[in-house]
Amino acid sequence: MAKKYLRMTLNERIQHLNLAINFTILVITGFALKYPEAFWASPITDVPLGMTFRGFLHRLSGVATITLGGYHLLYLAFTERGRRIVIDMIPMWKDAKDLWETLKNNLFINQPAKVIKMGRFNFREKLEYLGLIWGTIVMTVTGFILWFKEEWLLFFPMWTFDVSRAIHFYEAILATLTIIVWHLYSVVWNPDVYPMSWAWISGNLTEHEMALEHGLELERLREEEKRKLVNFDEGSTAGGGRVYHVHPRGGEKFSIKNFYGTVKSLNESIKDWKGR
């Protein structure tokens, strides 16, 4: 079995799933307002109070998305892994060069194609993540203006409301198309991962996938592993830190089978022990 590398922790996968569900609800309930006669809007428009429920659901999902955004900020600020994500996510000059070289590879200008080694987050992911932040801010601000129009219009003229409406709509188109064109290509239609990258469910990338998309990160991880092996304090615990239960099923009566198992695992521990 190929070696796997952790890409998304369980926490991050839940965040991603949360965002995916809320984003989909927002897209459907939002565009059902703009295109009420569209065939796909009929489950909303054909039922009594459908449009009222649509509005409620859209606001609910909006609040959920914003809450998720807030949680994500806390996650970034107060966890070791989160702070690492921020550092790795900063756009670098190398990302522009990677994009350029990838394009040259794709257009067969680089002959032979260059092997591009990218970091933990490649230019595709950085672009999308920053776009997501931008979109969330724009949609949050304009969305709240539309929601709390009475309060907003206490201080601002009517045209600002109309502008917010326009921005909210066009930004929604931009965001939806970006997800379909950019994100779904990366994780679905990309021939390297088709029919789907499983990272959002399993949390892992295979070594092959890592090499393709995150060559630099793979090298770094291997270095780290090697360093760990070198620093390994072999004398500390037999079996590399693993605890071997002498009585695997404690409390059970003595049996030949249990005894055999204990002896066997002891033997293995001794065999694996590298000695000082």
Partner: protein, 341 residues
């Protein structure tokens, strides 16, 4: 062959005229007398006078009395003068379509109203005759006999003022409510049901190119409404969302320059406040029916127009760029995977 056909048609037409043109002298010998009366069950005096001149000038002037009063022709009526349950004239015998529609109307189902209440009796005039009870300007009077409050409100409205000035095509009661098949507002098939107000009732004129050109107003309010939140949600079936009547009123629709108008700038805040209780003074400032247009009159129209242009350029550039990049990526990866022989 052709002249023969025309001739035979003319002959037939002549025959029809001959049969329709009845001899009413027998009836009018009694009913032509202005003093002919009878007493009804309550003892009220009821005139039985039929003006020959009025009948002759009516659209039914060529008909015989017995064409409508079908139960009269037994000789006993003429001899004894005894009433013969002939008061209810069956108009539906000729006017089938109208009868059928009328049977479904609220006037027929909920009220004891017959054709004559609106159309009159012996002196029925065609719709186009200014003396007709159903002529467009006379409808205010005709309908107002029962619906006096609505009729009074309408007469003072922008629609009613234009109507009483005698402008053709100006809306009257029937323009919105329909004619024979008038239904209650709550009936989904009613012409003024809340789901139809902003789809057919008002837009039949306010989104009609010919009428808007003739009377020099624009279709902009309808178009912009359909694209506003109110209109979009309404189109999706939301009945809580404002329709035309929510802001403009019903029978008493007035021009925005009229201080009594619901949409006059001094009253707009109150009008919006019906649904938006916290509506501030900014609700009444600035235009409501705006369409995104960089050459627009209103600042908001211009601003939204520019936002639109900038965003369309942005969307085309970004999505176009991303699509192109991904297409090249897909192409290379697909070519690299081609089976090698």
């Amino acid at each position: 062959m052709l002249p023969l056909g025309i001739l035979s048609l003319l002959f037939l037409y002549g025959m029809m005229g001959e049969t329709a043109r009845g001899d009413n002298s027998k009836c009018l010998s009694c009913h032509g007398n202005e003093n002919l009366t009878k007493k009804d069950a309550r003892g009220n005096k009821i005139s039985l006078f039929v003006s020959e001149e009025g009948l002759k000038k009516s659209i039914h002037g060529e008909n015989a009395c017995t064409d409508c009063h079908t139960r009269i022709p037994d000789e006993s009526h003429a001899k004894t003068g005894i009433k013969d349950a002939d008061r209810k004239v069956d108009c539906g015998a000729c006017h089938e379509e109208s009868e059928k529609l009328f049977k479904t109307s609220v006037h027929s189902l909920k009220a004891e109203i017959a054709c004559k209440e609106c159309h009159g009796t012996h002196s029925i005039k065609p719709l186009s005759d200014p003396k007709s009870a159903t002529f467009q300007t006379n409808l205010l009077q005709t309908c107002g006999e029962c619906h006096s409050e609505e009729s009074k409100q309408f007469a003072e409205s922008v629609h009613g003022v234009g109507l009483t000035r005698g402008r053709p095509n100006h809306p009257t009661c029937t323009t919105c409510h329909g004619t024979h098949g008038i239904r209650p507002r709550s009936d989904p098939e009613s012409a003024v049901h809340e789901r139809k107000i902003a789809i057919t009732t008002c837009p039949q004129c306010h989104a009609a190119e010919r009428i808007t050109r003739e009377y020099r107003f624009t279709t902009k309010p309808v178009k912009s409404y359909y694209d506003s939140f109110h209109g979009l949600s309404y189109r999706g079936g939301d009945t809580f969302s404002a329709n035309c009547a929510s802001c403009h009123g019903v029978h008493d629709i007035r021009s925005s320059s009229d201080p009594k108008s619901m949409i006059h700038k001094d009253r707009l805040q109150k009008t919006c406040g019906v649904c938006h209780p916290k509506a501030s003074v900014n609700f009444s400032k600035g235009k409501i029916h705006t369409l995104a247009d960089i050459r627009g009159v209103d600042f908001g129209e211009k601003a939204v127009g520019w936002v639109r242009i900038v965003y369309i350029i942005l969307i085309v550039a970004v999505i176009g760029g991303l699509s192109f990049f991904n297409f090249t990526d897909w192409l290379r990866k697909t070519i690299e995977r081609r089976p090698k022989d």
